[in-house]
């Protein structure tokens, strides 16, 4: 380890660490634009210049390695003067349209200017007019009047996707980011460009003008849209109390996890969050709800438990079929295993998840479920089943998850299952499938619950709710715990489970 002093604070860092990274580790943030931890430093924005005792010039912290005994100052008058100077230059030709810029509130340039400068501009020359709405492909728009030429976007496409759709064209102050005619940005990671742009030069039409960054709450979660399970932030608006429907998710951003996704997420995960709202199952429904006068999702537990218990006592548990999904958490699958397989000794527990897609060779896997590996590890059969097999000699069919329609046509489901006496669907989404069921119970999406997934690498990671579910929706683990208790074959087993964490601790 190398020992050095930054702003009077003694710090030790691994040899080969840059000053910027060592400082960051120690909680000292050095302003920067072009530096990004995913790329080798280029040292071009010059915002991170710091004073190093014994050296005549300021040196870029992003590209200067720590040395034993080094004394660094990141906030000295010389450093701050230079920083202001760079800010003045960057802002001289900058668009200054922060009031209508999507990046406002999370803009590195704006933040640094507010922290260090707040100097009025003295630039008295005519500003160069540059393109403000250049379509880059992938729904991205480039505003060259906002661009600071940090080249993060170019370097991302060069080193991460290796597609190099963007380049720096022309030179000097005529330099501009661009792509070649007919060769727009076209890859499954293009959404990262708007995210890594430190200013509002690249904006994303998915987010453009929809809300302001400062309204959003960013919560950690795991992307459920494939087996990778990338670490993400789900950003949502808490909603205006008197305006219904304003609380909703606006954006998914990548969250650094070196074991899984590094700094990036794919477009499927970034833009796929629409499922959270689309055809959302919000209320208990189905003819049986009326008959039995059920009001809330949890009201389902008692009659269902009674039915299951009755079948079990008659030794007719073979007339029950259960469909689970690999979107359920490890805890839920564990509970389902305990209730249906261990306690009730139901043999037919099948897994139906979304159909596989094509993997992209980077993060996106073929399976479009977050927990196939977890389901396998818990001993669930992930092989395909048929509607007929599920309906054969079946009186009670319990389905968890909204993915039947990915595999079967709704009309086929209705006709194949017409002879099944009772069909119950637990789902966060209802796309017209509910009509085939006697009871439809609203549940929650992974982003709205506690739990853990085992990703395609075998990593088990837990998560907490990042979003509030619809008021009447209940997480599956809670329903399964209640069901286990109500079935009464092994009630004490379920009593301690007051949270998903409790379940996790009980798991082998």
């Amino acid at each position: 380890m190398v020992s050095l002093v930054i702003n009077g604070q003694r710090i030790s860092a691994a040899p080969g660490t840059t000053i910027l990274e060592a400082a960051r580790e120690a909680g000292i943030e050095i302003p920067h634009l072009c530096y990004h931890p995913a790329f080798p430093p280029v040292g071009t924005c010059r915002l991170c210049a710091v004073e190093i005792e014994g050296l005549p010039k300021l040196e870029p912290a992003c590209s200067t390695n720590v040395k034993e005994g080094m004394v660094v100052r990141t906030e000295s008058p010389r450093v701050v003067e230079a920083r202001r100077n760079v800010l003045e230059l960057l802002l001289a030709e900058h668009a200054m349209d922060c009031p209508i810029c999507d990046k406002a509130g999370e803009c590195r340039l704006q933040d640094t200017y507010q922290a260090y400068s707040l100097a009025p501009g003295v630039y008295a020359e005519d500003k160069t007019r540059r393109g403000k709405k250049i379509a880059l492909g992938g729904g991205l728009l480039l505003d060259r009047e906002r661009c600071v030429l940090c080249t993060r976007c170019v370097r991302f496409l060069e080193s991460v996707t290796k597609t190099s759709e963007l380049g720096v064209f022309e030179r000097g102050d005529r330099s501009e980011i661009g792509c070649v005619e007919g060769r727009l940005v076209d890859n499954n990671y293009s959404g990262c460009l708007a995210e890594i742009c430190p200013v509002g030069a690249i904006t994303d039409s998915d987010f453009r003008f929809k809300t302001r960054a400062w309204f959003l709450e960013a919560r950690e979660t795991i992307c459920p849209l494939c087996g990778r399970g990338c670490a993400v932030f789900l950003e949502s608006h808490p909603g205006f109390p008197r305006v219904p429907g304003t609380a909703k998710a606006y954006r998914v951003r990548s969250r650094r996890d070196e074991r899984v996704n590094g700094h990036w997420i794919c477009n499927v995960g970034r833009y796929g969050y629409g499922y959270l709202e689309k055809s959302r199952c919000r209320e208990l429904a189905g003819p049986l709800a009326k008959t039995l006068n059920l009001k809330a999702a949890t009201d389902v537990v008692a009659p269902l438990a009674a039915e299951l218990r009755a079948l079990k006592y008659k030794g007719r548990q073979t007339r029950v079929a259960v469909v689970l999904s690999d979107w359920l958490t490890n805890e839920e699958l564990f509970l389902a295993g305990a209730v249906f397989r261990r306690d009730l000794e139901i043999g037919r527990c099948h897994l139906v998840g979304p159909r596989d897609g094509s993997p992209d060779g980077m993060l996106l896997t073929a399976e479009r479920s977050p927990n196939r590996a977890g389901a396998k590890a818990l001993g669930f059969n992930t092989e395909e089943t048929t509607l007929e097999a599920l309906a054969r000699d079946t009186d009670l069919l319990i389905v968890f998850g909204p993915f039947l329609q990915d595999r079967f046509r709704p009309a086929d489901i209705a006709s194949a299952w017409a002879g099944v006496k009772t069909k119950v669907l637990f789902t966060p989404r209802d796309e017209g499938l509910g009509a085939a069921f006697d009871l439809v119970v609203p549940t929650v999406w992974p982003a709205e619950k506690d739990g853990s997934f085992t990703n395609c690498q075998g990593l088990i990671r837990s998560f907490s709710p990042a979003l509030a579910p619809p008021p009447s929706a209940v997480p599956e683990w809670r329903l399964l715990t209640a069901l286990g208790r109500a079935v009464g074959l092994n009630p004490s087993f379920y009593i301690p489970f007051r949270s998903a964490g409790d379940v996790r601790r009980a798991m082998p």
Binding site: C45, A49, K57, N85, E125, R171, D173
Partner: protein
């Protein structure tokens, strides 16, 4: 010292056809290469060049022998020589002069440098505007190859070298050695971060020596006549002669080869015939456009690196631009700032934005549209560029402006 002195690069430049191999050989050409390859070890060549205190003639003035010494030795790893013939510093034309008159001298220097460092491939990076010189060099390369002075087994020894002429395409910045490497690799001429230095990671990620044309042209003389003789032609810490490109408002613009440390006044008044049309000297840029200018009362200075630094300027490429008393300084300022704004690679903020901003102010001053505070802004911008860019171009752009503002502030502030 007379012009017949064999250590003068330009000694034979009066001869017709010196650029042809036969003529060059008849005047002693390739004897240094033969001597080195047959009788000296690579280390001995390196030591001789180190002892000669041959400072680089491209602009930075770094000792060539020390630069060569930085290349890791004792491995078979690929190494490259890049000859920097991207002569772009305004006012400089000495490398063109050398290459057009005596391309074989450069090739012989390249052979010696390569032998000393263990290099088998050399690229001459020549600016694209020198197309006719590039062709002349290519002819010289073919001649040398045909006569066994290039290729495998040079002079019947086990040493071999291939030389390729690589044309630039119009970018001043490619004279900066790491930008040159980027350009030679087929990319934009963006200077690289240092370290690593080219001697350890250079062209195609291999150890690389980059020398200016004039620097390499001195090597044959040093090897033939020894470091001691070379040192006698210049100063102890800065050996040999230098070719000064003199232009601007002088009676006889041209290249003049003088011992390092000769007087600037003498160069202007005795060699270049003084200021043209009987005008007076107003200022002199002594080392290429990037060098801070000197005024009439500052020109009694010796033309060597240390003396010019002491005088507040720099020797740079040894290009002397004389400005006469009828030239408005707004014109000079406009041309200087326009040049750097045009040539900035655009990578780093201070240079990209600062040079363009200065050029806009200068253009207004020149057009008589001065605003209050313009000169202060110029000074502030130049100060903000100086020492704060990734490559030396920031200083190159800032220093001449700072000098001009310091020495001609009154004139600039009177302009309207």
């Amino acid at each position: 010292m007379n012009r017949e002195d064999e250590l003068f690069l330009t000694r034979d430049f009066g001869l017709d056809h010196l650029h042809r191999l036969e003529t060059y050989v008849s005047r002693g050409g390739y004897r240094a290469a033969a001597k080195a390859l047959k009788t000296m070890t690579p280390d001995a060549v390196l030591e001789e060049v180190k002892a000669a205190n041959l400072r680089g003639r491209g602009g930075a003035g770094f000792p060539a022998g020390i630069k060569w010494g930085f290349v890791p030795r004792g491995t078979d790893a690929l190494r490259y020589l890049c000859v920097n013939a991207d002569e772009g510093e305004p006012g400089t034309f000495k490398d063109r002069f050398l290459m057009s008159h005596n391309p074989h001298l450069l090739l012989e220097g390249a052979i010696l440098a390569s032998y000393a460092v263990g290099i088998r491939t050399a690229y001459v990076y020549i600016r694209g505007e020198y197309e006719s010189i590039a062709r002349r060099l290519e002819t010289a390369v073919s001649e040398a190859r045909a006569s066994g002075w290039l290729g495998d087994h040079i002079a019947g020894t086990g040493f071999g070298l291939e030389v390729f002429v690589h044309r630039g395409a119009g970018a001043y910045i490619c004279g900066e050695e790491t930008a040159l490497l980027e350009s030679l690799e087929g990319k934009r001429g963006h200077p690289r971060l240092k370290p690593p230095f080219p001697a350890s990671i250079g062209l195609f990620r291999c150890p690389t020596v980059i020398n200016n044309v004039e620097t390499l042209c001195h090597i044959p003389g040093i090897i033939r006549h020894g470091a001691e003789a070379f040192l006698k032609r210049g100063l102890p810490r800065d050996g040999g002669t230098r070719i000064f490109s003199v232009s601007g408002a002088v009676a006889r613009p041209g290249c003049y080869e003088l011992p390092t440390g000769s007087s600037l006044r003498e160069l202007i008044y005795e060699r270049a015939g003084g200021v043209r049309d009987g005008r007076k000297l107003k200022a002199v840029i002594p080392g290429g456009l990037s060098a801070p200018m000197l005024t009439e009362n500052e020109i009694d200075v010796r033309m060597d690196g240390d003396s010019l630094v002491e005088a507040g300027s720099m020797l740079g490429s040894g290009a002397v631009i004389v400005i006469d008393d009828e030239t408005p300084m707004t014109l000079v300022l406009e041309k200087i700032t326009k040049f750097y704004a045009h040539e900035s690679c655009g990578q780093c903020t201070p240079c990209r934005v600062g040079t363009a901003w200065m050029a806009r102010i200068a253009a207004r001053l020149r057009a008589g549209r001065r605003r209050n505070g313009d000169v202060d802004t110029l000074h502030r911008l130049a100060s903000g560029i100086k020492g704060r860019t990734l490559c030396p171009m920031g200083d190159a752009a800032a220093l001449p402006v700072l000098a001009l503002v310091a020495k001609f502030r009154d004139e600039l502030e009177r302009s309207s």
